[in-house]
Symmetry: D3
Subunit: 240 residues, 6 copies
Amino acid sequence: MRPNNRSKDSLREIKIEINVSDYAEGSCLISYGKTKVLCTASLDEFVPPFLRNTGKGWVTAEYGMLPRSTHTRMPREAAKGKQSGRTVEIQRLIGRSLRAVIDLKKLGEKQIIVDCDVINADGGTRTASITGGFVALYLACKHMEKKRQIKEFPITNFVAAVSAGIHNNAAILDLEYEEDSDAEVDANFVITGNGKMVELGFTGEESSFTEEQMNQMLALGKKGVAELIEMQKNVISHNG
Amino acid sequence: MRPNNRSKDSLREIKIEINVSDYAEGSCLISYGKTKVLCTASLDEFVPPFLRNTGKGWVTAEYGMLPRSTHTRMPREAAKGKQSGRTVEIQRLIGRSLRAVIDLKKLGEKQIIVDCDVINADGGTRTASITGGFVALYLACKHMEKKRQIKEFPITNFVAAVSAGIHNNAAILDLEYEEDSDAEVDANFVITGNGKMVELGFTGEESSFTEEQMNQMLALGKKGVAELIEMQKNVISHNG
Amino acid sequence: MRPNNRSKDSLREIKIEINVSDYAEGSCLISYGKTKVLCTASLDEFVPPFLRNTGKGWVTAEYGMLPRSTHTRMPREAAKGKQSGRTVEIQRLIGRSLRAVIDLKKLGEKQIIVDCDVINADGGTRTASITGGFVALYLACKHMEKKRQIKEFPITNFVAAVSAGIHNNAAILDLEYEEDSDAEVDANFVITGNGKMVELGFTGEESSFTEEQMNQMLALGKKGVAELIEMQKNVISHNG
Amino acid sequence: MRPNNRSKDSLREIKIEINVSDYAEGSCLISYGKTKVLCTASLDEFVPPFLRNTGKGWVTAEYGMLPRSTHTRMPREAAKGKQSGRTVEIQRLIGRSLRAVIDLKKLGEKQIIVDCDVINADGGTRTASITGGFVALYLACKHMEKKRQIKEFPITNFVAAVSAGIHNNAAILDLEYEEDSDAEVDANFVITGNGKMVELGFTGEESSFTEEQMNQMLALGKKGVAELIEMQKNVISHNG
Amino acid sequence: MRPNNRSKDSLREIKIEINVSDYAEGSCLISYGKTKVLCTASLDEFVPPFLRNTGKGWVTAEYGMLPRSTHTRMPREAAKGKQSGRTVEIQRLIGRSLRAVIDLKKLGEKQIIVDCDVINADGGTRTASITGGFVALYLACKHMEKKRQIKEFPITNFVAAVSAGIHNNAAILDLEYEEDSDAEVDANFVITGNGKMVELGFTGEESSFTEEQMNQMLALGKKGVAELIEMQKNVISHNG
Amino acid sequence: MRPNNRSKDSLREIKIEINVSDYAEGSCLISYGKTKVLCTASLDEFVPPFLRNTGKGWVTAEYGMLPRSTHTRMPREAAKGKQSGRTVEIQRLIGRSLRAVIDLKKLGEKQIIVDCDVINADGGTRTASITGGFVALYLACKHMEKKRQIKEFPITNFVAAVSAGIHNNAAILDLEYEEDSDAEVDANFVITGNGKMVELGFTGEESSFTEEQMNQMLALGKKGVAELIEMQKNVISHNG
């Protein structure tokens, strides 16, 4: 039995509250069960050097965890003077995922920085960051469209992410922390609104898995992302 | 006229929501108007080296701002690889202020780390951090008392903080960002529940002020802190 | 047509030269075509703090590129004062992959550090590092067995890695740099000697792909790894 | 009784030796008793980025302690790779204090960097740095005036600083190290030549104090600064 | 007796294999016995700031050791986040030595970066780096001459380096690690093709030596360098 | 003609003022003409890890320049967050030189840290640091002997250092900044009280020199050091 009697192919309770920031061009607070991530999308008039004078824009992401978002307090990365390998890996993944669904030429020579800050961590912070980060990015683009800072809406598709894993030999969807730390295999799926794959990662830390298990996890991931994208569409449609 | 028709000696709307973190021993989300700070107090079984085997404990604080807590996005300190001078100055102030109202011997050889993370910044983030940080610290001590991790309750007094300043030649209480960036003089008051001073700082950046103005600001600060401590007492009394 | 008339499902020329280091407990120089990586496995009597007094050992990996292993010289990470996100991501992947095929209890409270240093880079440096890193690790364990530093041989399986991708709409195996920089999708496969999966990663940078394409790449990956493991077995059998 | 039979409201012996540097535009060696600080003011043709093309100049300060300026040797900050929070706090204070008495428009688009390096530390290094830093800044401006690098003399007022504290329940002026480390309350006063306040800071580390005590310290601070400004005027009048 | 019955005034076996890098403008792999250094010379179109618009070029060097080039594994400098004092000292020496034999005006406003990466260390890595670094630099200049990127060949002389020392009271040439760690005095000689001195360094770590011993070492150094330069000339004459 | 009509083989005016620090176990302020270095020797009860439980002590040195010790202000190394290669090279040289004249076993398991801080720089700061650093070290050992912290006086010999160079084709002693920046060859000599060599370094930056020139410089260096050691003996004999 999963915690809260959840079935193997169910998501946790998902909530997306939009426009939570007073200043960001786009923002939301997303929850996957007890995991809560604040996502803001900020417009920056400067693109990275390799894009200057190309007419193309950029989308990048940064990820952080508040020190007591976790069961035991984690040292603050700013105080340690560097971001951990895990942080860097996650923020690179978020950035690549979001760039897969935006036409950077239509964005023009501007940068959007999506910050994903974990307020409470209970497993799935990277997938919640992608799903929520997309909402913040979408809202920022809508804001820019309204302000006539862009000519054409640059978002080409929806994108969301979810985890799956093998736990006690069974494939399960959207692992929470307790399940995650016990899982034999851990997988993450980033999939678009028309069912195309953006990033798939399967990791058997100190373990391995079969192709059949891989396919079971993939089926769960597709189901989970489809549901998440419905929720994204729903909240976005209520944006004034 | 101040924004929202506030009178010169009024605080902004103050809200303190307690026990907002699933994991921290004590926590609150404090608002001074649009300024919002998440404060968590975490118990750490290890004290700093200079206190080992002394029987005395320690309270320290860390401060951070989310990148888009501000009007324009600030670079993330973890990405830059170091904390700014301003951050270090503020977290040292919070730590000193909280240590003034706790008996470190009663705490025993334990450390409590108070994290103050600014979700939204509209002036007064350091004073809100002290007022909210105290609430988190108080709740953490109550939690430890209940768990019998301490024998005697170590908190000796309440403490809260507020700013005042000289703006358009008049002394005003609890400045918001727009006022703060225009103010001729900026002051911060950290005062205890029995009206004793813990830290007073008056700063005339590129300017100076008279002793009379100093006394006007001090009067406002005393009034503001007294009101804040009433609110602290009120929310704490509702802690289950 | 691929460079050198290579067919879509062919590996580049693979070479593995063993025992190339005078000092390392295990070592090899591995080539995937023009990509060359020097892999050394070093025994360290100290395990990381979280394993002290557990009786369990650890395997970790570090990855680096010589400054002129690339077409244009890259700044030296030691001179810049930090490892890039890409470096950290790759060395975490190598470490996880190797830990999947070793019984850390049989290793005992020892650490083996596998260094993968790229001498020449022409695509596939991370997959060559895993395949070569495994050979170095295997030889180090053999060395320790001979010296009676371990009681039981701890390696539980072979492991190797290869890339595949979608290039001009076709799935191809083991991409070299020129192909890689043009590919629509990039995938990496870490698979064991008995055909079980350890790590699978599919990345459509600024693009997406179908499930059918995913399966084509996976088929290539399985074929490629099977061939690589044959070569590993062959060179190891010649170790004196 | 204070060391050397000093009365409660007396400064230590103050010495200011000017033009001690062969190269700096302005310099002095200031002593407050055994505390000795070398202050140099250096003209820099470049202003910080936020002032470019504004016609305004800037004054900034840096502070350091020689490793054996203290009773026990302190690690060198350059070797540790970062400045402590205390160092950053002090140099920000010195910079703000000096900017309060200079008209940055009259300075023109130039920067003056005031370096305060502690040769010997016996309490009061930050206040000696402000008093001596002002003398160095003044002399540098005189030098620039003579060289016709500025049109109008930009200094608008004198400024000096001194500490006071509560020690054995009595307010005392200009604490030396032995007193400082025992003091219940520590205060610093930065006051101009016409008696206006620039920075006042009262700190009751792990303690608190009354408004009456605050006023006693303030009275001492005003007296001490007035005497220090007389000495500044005296040495400056002897500058050739 | 020296290892391998080497006589006191003999070099170890020297090998220089040229053009070992697929990408570098010039490269070689040099061996002094078991010491092996990979040297690459990379053309960089940008000179350091102090040479911009002067028409003069620059030659600089960087030095690194692979983690397991040594008997016991050394921590990777990129992972530690800084280069050791020894590394910095050696790369400054290599750069100065190479700049002594090139006409920077003839090079034009270009930079050549010589990377010396130690694959295997058995004493004498800095001298092998200079001798091999010169070969890489020479070949890079030949490459640029052929590509008409320079008008005149800028190399003005050959240069090579060797160590000598006092070991068991006798002067010996080209110390290997075992001798080096026992030697009373250690010396390094950088000498040109026409017998002029470029850098001479004599170091009696925790010891001292006489002028006569100095002259014995110098005689060995001159003999060793002369032989090394013959070998450089020989390999370079075979460059296609 | 040299500045101040100095002859080719003359030192600048040398001054050594001892016991200038209130706290250091040994100290002096040394001048070579306008070059001034404050040298302090501090006793530290802890030796570096590699010497623990060996009964042997250690002497190490650190070197720094005050920001405005130079003609144009240099950025502070503490603010930049790292020591330059030049700083590291110099402090390693000072440490090696001092360790050559002390019996580390007689010192016992203690460390002496010699800090050399340049107050004013006019050429020769590293040689003045060695000469003055020795005086500080000697006085610290005398202090420890008097306090019975050591049984036998551990200093085995005097040591001092001076520079020489080739300037306008002539060998000259003890170069000041103006000469140094023009010199074709630069050399440094560290020699003991009985005329034995400790460190000799000859550097022809972007140039080379003959053996005859080397011998001319060496003769000057020997003469200069002999005179410096006379002065060391003289000031030390006046130590109370």
